[in-house]
Symmetry: C2
Subunit: 425 residues, 2 copies
């Protein structure tokens, strides 16, 4: 029986039972953190041979160029080729960056603010500038816009991607719309993957603004939890090319969740015209990114197959964590019908919608009992969830036992908050 069908008396009784349970949890003095999509130490240990396996000859290209020295602004050719495989483009479409794809995205926006897109008018001189933000989405995307004073427009997320009717309407008619943030595969936080139909509609957009770009953050391109039945994402760049619209997107990815979260290698991909424009600016910004790390990456993985084989090891660590989270949600919350959640086949997050008006309360209850979750509202522009319903769970960092404890407490907090809310009426 769903909690909303409880009589007032039943509700009060349930509340009191849960309250007692909660107080007992509080007394345990937990100290658990599932706030961010941080890989665990066991995962980071998987890639140590990348560093120790280097031989002296690995520091030179096949042509004998010393990669420890200056040069090769766009990255080691072999590393560009590796990322090209991941992003579904050609090596010449790739710029390899530092360790942070966020940094590449931030700089892409910052460049547009100061210098414009491909020689266009700088956004800072255009007045109002808007980005479309599928919600719930990645907080750090939205933070870039907020810092730059770019207006954000919420776009509802569906099972198969953003509401494309709305996207088309806004992009195709409003010249102030300069971008849209997308995590197309195992989306942060909902874990869904854009359908072929959605990708094709993206590739067919006819933007009112010539300097509109799709910011395609393919952070979880190879992050399947299961060997069979992982989500397949249609290649955006190929679709754009079919339509002669390949200038319309910037693609991003990184190895932060393949090798080392804080010391990976990031890359972006774009059309020849975009890359040419970006390189001409980048050559003033930096002496070039760290090619030693790029060489380590290439030597260790060789190609996409090497990466996919490695990702199976990550999956073996991540799978039980996702299953623990989903198992508890199903067992504890499904019968009461007080929450909905996604059941992703990859990525780093599970997105839970609790009863409207309860998300902040759930996060506060968890915090009070020693479990830190991502702040309620974090997945929305300006940290404002209009429903106060969404909570992002990040199961990767804690060991399964701790995660199980944290999730037991979480489920209890959801029940408690729901009962409080229903008793208010």
């Amino acid at each position: 029986m769903g909690l909303r069908e409880y009589s007032r008396e039943e509700l009060r009784k349930a509340y009191e039972g849960w309250k007692k349970e909660y107080d007992a949890w509080k007394a345990k003095g937990l100290k658990l953190d599932m706030s961010r999509g941080k890989p665990s130490t066991v995962q980071l240990d998987l890639s140590m041979d990348m560093i120790t396996g280097m031989q002296y000859e690995d520091y030179f290209t096949d042509d004998g160029v010393d990669i420890r020295n200056y040069g090769m602004l766009e990255g080691l050719p072999k590393c560009r080729a590796l990322f090209a495989q991941l992003l579904g483009v050609q090596p010449e479409n790739v710029i390899v960056g530092g360790n942070s794809s966020l940094n590449l995205m931030y700089d892409a926006v910052a460049r547009s603010m100061i210098l414009g897109v491909c020689g266009g008018t700088p956004w800072m001189k255009q007045g109002r500038v808007k980005f479309l933000c599928p919600v719930p989405g990645y907080d750090r995307h939205f933070a870039i816009c907020e810092q730059m004073g770019i207006e954000m427009v919420n776009i509802p997320m569906r099972e198969d991607g953003p509401d494309m009717d709305l996207v088309e309407q806004l992009v195709n008619t409003d010249p102030a719309v300069k971008g849209i943030w997308c995590v197309p595969k195992y989306s942060n936080p909902s874990g869904i993957t854009y359908s072929d139909e959605v990708v094709r509609r993206f590739a067919a957009l006819t933007p009112a603004a010539p300097d509109f770009r799709i910011y395609w953050d393919d952070a979880y391109a190879v992050h399947d939890l299961y060997e069979e039945g992982g989500d397949k994402l249609l290649g955006l760049y190929e679709e754009l090319k079919k339509n002669g619209k390949e200038d319309m997107a910037y693609l991003f990815t990184s190895t932060s969740k393949i090798t080392f979260a804080g010391a990976g290698v990031a890359a972006m991909a774009a059309s020849e015209r975009n890359i040419q424009s970006i390189s001409s600016i980048l050559t003033i910004q930096t002496i070039g990114h760290d090619k030693v790390k790029q060489a380590m990456l290439v030597k260790y993985f060789q190609n996409k197959e090497g990466i996919l084989a490695h990702m199976k090891k990550h999956a073996a660590i991540m799978r039980p964590k996702f299953e623990a989270v989903l198992g508890l949600l199903r067992g504890e919350l499904a019968p009461l019908e007080i929450a909905r959640w996604t059941e992703p086949k990859g990525g780093y997050f599970v997105s839970v919608d609790v009863l409207p008006g309860c998300a902040k309360r759930v996060v506060a209850l968890c915090k009070e009992a020693g479990v830190v979750l991502t702040g309620a509202g974090a997945s929305f522009p300006y940290q404002k969830d209009p429903q106060d319903a969404n909570i992002r769970l990040a199961p990767s960092y804690p060991p399964v036992e701790e995660l199980t404890q944290a999730m037991q407490l979480f489920c209890l907090a959801v029940k408690l908050a729901a009962a409080e809310k229903l008793l208010e009426n």
Copy 2:
């Protein structure tokens, strides 16, 4: 006898002799590059133990934090402390960056353009913005200003630093002046070091603009050629503090010419107020820079003494190259009085002034005979040397024998160009 005292007949004869020599050089088909301050492979080999010497426990802080993971935006505490020693500040004044100090400088300017300095009005909304540029100076500093549309004002360099009368006059009266580029030790390209008096005058500036900053690029802080008698630079930050003006400077350095040119670690230092403002922006820009490299650096060098000991190995490689360059300049050009040059005790460059109107010609003559020099004018804003006299020599990359050949050709080209110029009259 100086070339200018030659009779016309003597001049013509000298010219013809040199022309014959030059044609013989051209026939050799040289292919030498002394255009950039690139370390040689032998120098890069010095630091390989930094990578191979890492043990598993080195990937954790003393508190057990996994440095391969996200976190520590401003850098590893021990790495901040190491750079604090180099820059004469406290660890909390340091932000450790990626591999490129140029990138830190570019971003400092870009941030100011979009977001202003410490919450001030963004430069893009202030109309005219100017930077003072001591000349000759570092081409990449000037390129940042040129790209951003920041107006550059030439400031003559003296033996002991920039013309401070002019600097004071402009900084203290013109609110459009927002910055000055300085390479205070073993300056690029002249190799001079600012005197204590000049540093003190910098620290006593009273800028008309509250968002004026000194961009203090201490790229060659530990790059002495000789164990004894190296230049000493007075610490700017300490002097600023004495005057209560510590907000007025950003300090930069990197290990590009200590470890790996393309894969070093860069850092900036500034006052608490500046660091706080920058960090609050940086946390949106990046997930943090690569701490694995920072850990390698700290483990390998431990402290400033470790770095100084290492720099003696670089000096042993660089010294003969500088001596070869200076020896040839003295032997070939001094008697003819057709060039002046600096004799730096450290750094990466020798700056030569040939007869006015001859620099481009010298570079062209060298190029024609297979020796690539830094472009004439490169050390000036907008690549415009008003005298067409300055040429930057970068002796680090070629082996001594090749360098000697290149310099023989260079001296010949200087003579030839001088004779051509004098014969014109």
